[in-house]
């Protein structure tokens, strides 16, 4: 009896994740048919690193300990580019609503959480392509990269978690505002504060205390902190990579649960 129950539960968990992966797989297939967006998305981080980074690394304005500024900022640019992609991900929800694709998903016997998590992971796939691009850029400008396979894998995991988190946040906003115009407005408003109120391009210690408080509740700070500890040689994480990942994971789960509640309401 109990064994049966256990089997049933195991089955429904397998079913949940296979559906999540189906949604993700669909997005990957779309990218395979038309990968242009992966290339155009390389432009922005390239500008940050090659222009902003190269200039600021010469002026030594920002205290970065024993790291060069450009090495300090490379993980920050990675986290930022992940954020910039993910934060507009919600527009796809509105787009799919307008196309009726969303209706068909919601009518299918797919758990809402699996739909939301599947979308979140597909934003994660795009984040992985950003990881690859930024590693290449970083090598080109002479940033010392930590090539330990464990570190590489963990950078990928952090990128996926962060992008899943921010894309689900974006999905929640899309579900609330419901129209493209309003969504774009809010997306623009959110990106800059999330970016600047974080440790992406300067350490928290430089900030006034009120801004530090904001940065400490900003998930981007933890993504940057983890990447800084993992990605570059001599980089250190302030909070510890384990804690960073835990914060990102818990925040993602909470957002997915909220997102799954709000997501079906976008069609009304």
């Amino acid at each position: 009896m109990n064994l049966n129950k256990g089997k049933k539960a195991a089955n429904s968990i397998i079913c949940f994740f296979s559906k999540t992966l189906s949604i993700t797989e669909m997005e990957v297939r779309k990218l395979r048919h038309d990968p242009t967006e992966l290339i155009t998305r390389a432009v922005q981080p390239a500008i940050w690193l090659l222009v902003f980074g190269e200039v600021f690394t010469r002026v030594h304005l920002i205290p970065t300990g024993n790291l060069s500024y450009i090495s300090f900022m490379a993980p920050g640019v990675l986290a930022q580019s992940v954020l910039f992609i993910a934060i507009f991900y919600g527009i796809a929800v509105i787009w799919e609503r307008d196309l009726g694709i969303l209706h068909k998903f919601l009518v299918s016997p797919t758990p809402r959480q699996a739909l939301v998590l599947g979308k979140a992971f597909s934003a994660g796939v795009r984040a992985l392509s950003q990881v690859a691009i930024i590693y290449v850029l970083a090598v080109l400008i002479g940033v010392g990269i930590n090539w330990n396979p464990v570190n590489l894998t963990l950078v990928g995991v952090v990128a996926i978690l962060a992008s899943a988190l921010f894309s689900t946040f974006s999905l929640i906003i899309a579900s609330l505002v419901k129209t493209r115009e309003r969504f774009m407005g809010i997306g623009q408003i959110l990106t800059m504060p999330l970016f600047f109120a974080s440790n992406a391009i300067y350490p928290l210690s430089m900030m006034p205390s009120w801004l530090q408080a904001v940065a400490r509740v900003n998930p981007l700070t933890y993504a940057v902190d983890a990447m800084r500890g993992l990605m570059i040689t001599g980089g250190t994480s302030i909070y510890g990579v384990g804690l960073d990942m835990l914060v990102l994971f818990v925040a993602m789960i909470v957002l997915v649960i909220i997102g799954a509640k709000l997501y079906p309401k976008v069609i009304v």
Partner: protein, 265 residues
Amino acid sequence: MTILTTEHLTRRFGELVAVDDLTISVEEGEIFGLLGPNGAGKSTAIKMIITLLPPTSGSANVGGFDLAHNASKIRRLIGYVPQILSADGTLTGRENLMIFAKLYDIPKNERAKRIDESLEFMGLTDVCNKLVRNYSGGMIRRLEIAQSMLHRPKVLFLDEPTIGLDPVGRRAVWDHITKLRDNYGTTIFLTTHYMEEADKLCSRVAIMHLGKLAVMGAPDELKASLGDDEATLDDVFAHYTGGSLERGDGYTEASRTRRTARRLG
């Protein structure tokens, strides 16, 4: 046997009563048409029945499952093709089917077979590896029907299935809908505002007007009830809706002219 019923189904949006006390029943294996002018509440009614939109009051039952308590069970029994052409243009036809085969828990060893069968049935085998954005409207519609029949639904909901299609595309969709019913015994629940289409396809129709059910019955019965041998479903529609809201009195006028023209040959 009755497969679908709604009782006093009502949905309000603020002041507007989009669906007002709708009570209908659909028999297993029939092609049932929900008719009405634009804005009559057809799409809202469908959305409630297929679990997308919670009703304000009233109830519905599909295949023995109650909407309020068993929405997830209902989802396994039904298929849905929305009004807009909604297949994903950035994927191939086959990929569009594959994703739904997975979401509907069709076992791995059966997926390919089911997909091939659906493609064949809808006459899309030759184009299944092309991106859907290169399909014609009629082909996309057929692909969507293929998508919605993969899991062999008991009831298939089609919201304005032929809207915007050219005559050839419409004819192909009609044929496939009828064949689907004949081969698989699928109950078809469709909305349309093409009266000729409803007359040809549907064994029974319900006409909605301003959110309310105006009349329900077999097209022939409804036509006969007007007491005019040559009445068409257009006339029935005009009689119960007083012409459509959108088109005002022009509708009755137009349908009368059309009938005159036909009589003159």
